[in-house]
């Protein structure tokens, strides 16, 4: 059982929940930028959460299925088509051998997630197939994006019998609470970073009160923001381990949020840290989007993460 990539699109990669627990050796975790969208795609297929999906950034992916199976596509709308028909997103959809899935460029949102019954097979490194380009691990080609001609195996964990009896349950189709609209602004929840107190009151206020513009150069490693620079001029700090969503302020005075493929260590002062929900939201914001950082209560945010993890039985 496999699929054939006919066109890798702008940037498509295999992702699973990430290469967790090897940060001390310098390995980035990777993993889906919009984690809930990836989880929904697996959930709709009754897949285990650890099943690998394809993260499609910006679109234009096209591929062919080499066997009958079931898929689900969640996240940004890229006008997906199954053969000539529009494909319904956020729902399990049966496909036949020879069917072609293709998509255009995303109109709203940035990333979509394709799950397949059983999950995709990739090169497992330290227990994960998550593609991390910089670390040259994961996926089908050492972390590099998918390209035309790639054949991706699919786990046949589902027995033939079960496959036949597998029914698409329409009641499991899900409409997400928030839509991937082309909205041009967003508020992102942050917590105070470990060096928050090193910044002047004026800088702290400026950080929270201005609208930043999300830069074109943003990617899976980091999101850069343009705006009025902070002026505290904090020289580098002794390098520290970096968690998801850390916001560093390099000498330019403009914040950089470190995301899934971040380096594990960072030597710039961290004024704040995005909440996990804010990271997922940021993953779907287009360049040019106006962004405001808003201090949030960490205890409340922890409850939201717990709720999310319980729903998807993530652990």
């Amino acid at each position: 059982m496999s699929i054939s990539i006919l066109d890798g699109g702008i940037f498509s990669q295999i992702q699973d929940l990430g290469r967790v627990g090897h940060g001390h050796s310098g390995f980035s975790q990777g993993g889906p930028m919009d984690l809930p969208a990836a989880c929904w795609a697996n959930y709709l297929l009754d897949n285990n959460n650890h099943c690998a999906v394809i993260e499609i950034t910006l679109g234009q992916l096209s591929l062919q299925f080499n066997q009958d199976t079931v898929i689900a596509l969640c996240g940004a709308d890229m006008a997906p088509r199954l053969n000539k028909q529009a494909l319904v997103m956020w729902q399990a959809v049966p496909v036949k051998a020879g069917d072609m899935l293709s998509m255009k460029t995303c109109q709203a949102g940035m990333r979509a997630y394709l799950a397949i019954k059983g999950g995709f097979v990739g090169q497992k490194v330290l227990g994960s197939v998550a593609s991390v380009m910089r670390d040259r691990v994961g996926g089908v080609n050492q972390g590099q994006p998918l390209q035309k001609g790639d054949e991706i195996e699919v786990n046949s964990s589902l027995k033939g019998k079960a496959m036949q009896s597998y029914n698409v349950a329409p009641e499991r189709a899900y409409q997400r609470g928030y839509h991937y609209t082309a909205k041009s602004w967003a508020k992102l929840a942050v917590f105070k970073g470990p060096q928050w107190h090193l910044f002047s009151q004026a800088d702290q206020d400026l950080f929270l009160n201005q609208y930043y513009r999300l830069e074109q150069s943003s990617n899976r490693m980091a999101a850069s923001f343009a705006g009025t620079p902070l002026t505290s001029g904090i020289a580098g700090i002794v390098s520290q381990g970096i968690t998801l969503g850390a916001i560093q302020v390099p000498p330019s005075g403009l914040p950089v949020a470190l995301l899934n493929d971040r380096q594990t260590l960072g030597g710039y002062a961290k004024i704040a840290n995005l909440s996990q929900g804010a990271c997922w939201r940021l993953a779907q914001l287009p360049p040019g989007c106006q962004v405001q950082f808003e201090l949030a209560d960490i205890t409340q945010a922890q409850q939201q993460v717990l709720q999310f993890q319980r729903f998807f039985q993530l652990n």
């Binding site: 967790v20 390995f27 390098s239 968690t243 840290n273 960490i298």
Partner: protein, 229 residues
């Protein structure tokens, strides 16, 4: 003194004072060991030591911030009573074929001969301060101040795997070919990541570089790329 700062919903940063020295490194090594013995692995996602901090990511569904906070304090209290000699530090010897493109630059900077630079670099017993930048890249210190050399003004597009370099008062080894701005002294024939991607070094380890000749370098499996021929 110990400070604990929550970073996000599932991570926190433990800072061991403002000063960074070898005693801090010993303390951090003992701390990580204690924490792991008090806290089952299934509760923790990442334990990432670096210089004077340890970043911890935890399973919030299995242990709360307050519970972890308490375990961190208990671990810390149990180690501050220990004398430094109770820390077990591994010594790892790494062979180096000293023939790198920046030896002359470093010698010039230090006003020494190339031979003196090599001796100076290999006489020092280093500690692993941190591992990062790329998988398996160790930051070692502290370099003898005489040969501490600033990074190249424009980084090389490609530095060979195994390259041993100096940047200011730290020395390190590129586990894989990558762009880089460190001053390259030579090549280490040993892979820093094994075939299973496990890292040969860990934070706190002692490292000594042992100069070897080209024959031995090749015998140990080292490869000379075009840039070194």
């Amino acid at each position: 003194m110990l400070a604990i700062h929550p970073l996000n919903e599932t991570s926190l940063l433990v800072t061991f004072g403002d000063q960074f020295d070898n005693a801090t490194l010993d303390l951090i090594g003992l701390f990580c060991h204690q924490l792991k013995s008090r806290c089952p692995a299934r509760l923790l996602k990442e334990v990432l030591p670096s210089y004077n901090t340890v970043m911890i990511e935890y399973h919030i569904d299995r242990i709360s911030f307050d519970q972890l906070h308490q375990l961190i304090h208990q671990s810390y209290l149990s180690i501050v009573q220990l004398s430094p000699s109770q820390s077990e530090t591994r010594l790892v010897e790494l062979p180096v074929f000293y023939m790198g493109p920046d030896l002359a630059r470093i010698a010039n900077h230090a006003n020494m001969s190339v031979e003196q630079v090599i001796q100076c670099h290999s006489d020092t017993l280093y500690r692993v301060y941190a591992i990062g930048f790329s998988p398996g890249f160790p930051y070692l210190g502290e370099v003898d101040p005489r040969i501490a050399t600033p990074r190249l003004t424009s980084p090389r597009k490609q530095v060979a795997a195994g390259s041993v370099g100096i940047a200011d008062n730290q020395t390190g080894i590129y586990p894989n070919a990558s762009p880089g701005g460190w001053n390259i002294l030579g090549l280490c024939p040993h892979a820093l990541l094994d075939n299973d991607y496990q890292c040969r070094l860990q934070v706190g380890d002692q490292v000594r570089f042992v100069p070897i000749a080209q024959d031995e370098f090749l015998h140990l499996g080292g490869q000379l790329g075009e840039e070194f021929r």
